[in-house]
Amino acid sequence: MRKKYGNLGIYIVLLIFSFFFLLPIYMLLATSFKPLVEIGMGSMWLLPKQPSLEGFTDSIKRLSPNLLNSFLLVIPATIFSCILGSINGYIFSKIRFRGINLLFMCVLFGMFIPYQSVLFPLIQFLQEIKLYGTIWGLIITHVIYGLPITTLIFRNYYMEVPDEMLEAAGIDGAGLFKSYFLILFPLSIPGFVVAVIWQFTNIWNEFLFAVTITSDPKKQPITVALVNLAGSQMVQWNLQMAGAVVAAIPTLLVYIFLGKYFIRGLMSGSVKG
């Protein structure tokens, strides 16, 4: 009896927290489904009287080139950085030599730096190789600066694979490459799922590189376009909010359907030995 009463209190506290967590989302959805004529402030917190897709059709029309850019950026950048991360993670987890941990630490430091501290030389470099302002410039950037986190995810993942399994293959004369492709790689699918989801979400959501490396609005990813949309359409809040929903949908879908793996990637960000 007492236990039940205790749980009720917990549910009430959780519901209060949920209310505050969902309040901005309620506002986001209520605003984005309103037609422009209903965008009066007095009715801002009410549900739309005549739900309309006006905001969505309009924002998709404006943002669709940028959505496409984001996909063109995210897909190759994710694939490359995960493959490289897997190979690196294999070496860092299974090969021991003096100083390898120090090297690993130096690689890891790269994921914590404020990217402002490499931005100016990076842009000069991209200008020199004629990739400044292009999606490929952004892809290369994200592959490079994604190496530390993908290496970390795969290293932690491969640490759990017992060394004996690889050694068994080693005795059969399998070299480094063979034991990777024959033993580790087939076991790597859950590791790849975690790393792919993590990179997909992070690169999709990224803003600093996107806004500084691409200046042509036609080449900018969705996050930059959303900020520009918000800056240029101060009154049409339904358009802005619908734009925010559109920009968030791909990563939200990943979260909804593959949340378990998303959380695992989240946790691996906190290093662990």
């Binding site: 917990i10 402030m41 402002q116 939200l252």
Partner: protein, 305 residues
């Protein structure tokens, strides 16, 4: 054979090491060099000539009222953001650690903001806290406050220039938005810690007649201390370099009330072509992050040896 394997392993990771060496450490070096130059106009940069000007860019920054404001803003933002995330994260984790029915749903609600871009968060919360024109023409949450009879709480939010000492009150909405996005992450870290505590320990304490409160502080909290430290470091390094959220939500604000070093760096480098000063801000940001991150990296990797 074994030695050959080590060499081959080193050979395989060496391209990564070279790339990280150039793009992280080499570029940091180039930024430091730029911060010691006089490249404060497009013409000077284009000339390609390096004129060493010592710490002049740094001196100018620390004497700059806007940069001083940025440093105070970073400090207060970091402190309150950390406090909010840790407190809410701990409360939520403690409540959800009981395997309640529907616990998974609550967990998903608290964690989903992590999947959003900071830019999306900024856009949404800007509309949420847009004050409108008070008192007659409120907007955003001020409308809601008026409608539920809390008109006295209507406020200019991120547009006010009021301060308490060096603390700009306009930062409060930005802190709320940041806590909203990252407290679920803190909760997930604490939950992972709580679930790793052996059942037998809490059970033993319960048999000895300890209350739920005592069990939490005496038995569980010691396990959560290292997690608190990790969370502080991860969250702290995020807040020291925060950019996307502030840029999309408020920008620098009136009198720079919500300005941050990252925004000033962005404007210096990409709006006013003062590359050397922009680089100096970037170096200062890097130093702040390094002070927090390097000891953390060293200690976690030492543990794993």
């Amino acid at each position: 054979m074994h030695k050959k394997k080590k060499w081959l392993g080193f050979l395989i990771i060496s391209p990564t090491l070279v790339v990280i060496g150039v793009f992280v450490y080499g570029f940091i070096g180039a930024t430091v060099r730029a911060s010691l130059s006089d490249w404060n106009s497009f013409r000077k940069l284009l000339s390609g000539e390096f004129v060493f000007s010592g710490l002049r860019n740094y001196e100018r920054l620390f004497a700059d009222w806007r940069f001083q404001t940025d440093m105070w803003n970073t400090l207060f933002f970091t402190v309150f953001f950390l406090f909010g995330c840790l407190l809410i994260g701990l409360i939520l984790a403690a409540l959800l650690d009981r395997n309640l029915k529907g616990g998974r749903i609550f967990q998903s609600i608290f964690l989903f903001p992590m999947a959003l871009s900071l830019v999306v968060t900024g856009t949404v919360w800007r509309w949420f806290f847009a004050p409108g024109i008070l008192p007659n023409d409120p907007a955003g949450v001020n409308v809601l406050l008026g409608q539920v009879g809390l008109k006295s709480l209507q406020w200019g939010w991120f547009t006010v220039t009021d301060t308490i000492g060096p603390f700009n009150l306009a930062l409060v909405p930005v802190i709320i938005a940041a806590v909203w996005q990252l407290s679920g992450y803190t909760m997930a870290m604490y939950l992972a810690g709580l679930r790793a505590i052996p059942e037998s320990m809490t059970e033993a304490a319960r048999v000895d007649g300890a209350s739920g409160w005592q069990i939490f502080w005496k038995v569980k909290w010691p396990f959560l201390k290292p997690i608190t430290l990790s969370a502080m470091i991860i969250l702290g390094h995020i807040s020291l370099k925060i950019f996307d959220l502030v840029y999309s939500m408020t920008g620098s604000g009136p009198k720079n009330v919500t300005d941050m070093p990252s925004i000033y760096m962005f404007e210096k480098t990409f709006r006013s072509n003062r590359y050397a000063e922009g680089s100096a801000i970037a170096v200062i940001m890097l130093l702040m992050v390094a002070v927090v991150i390097i000891p953390y990296l060293v200690s976690t990797l030492r543990k794993s040896d």
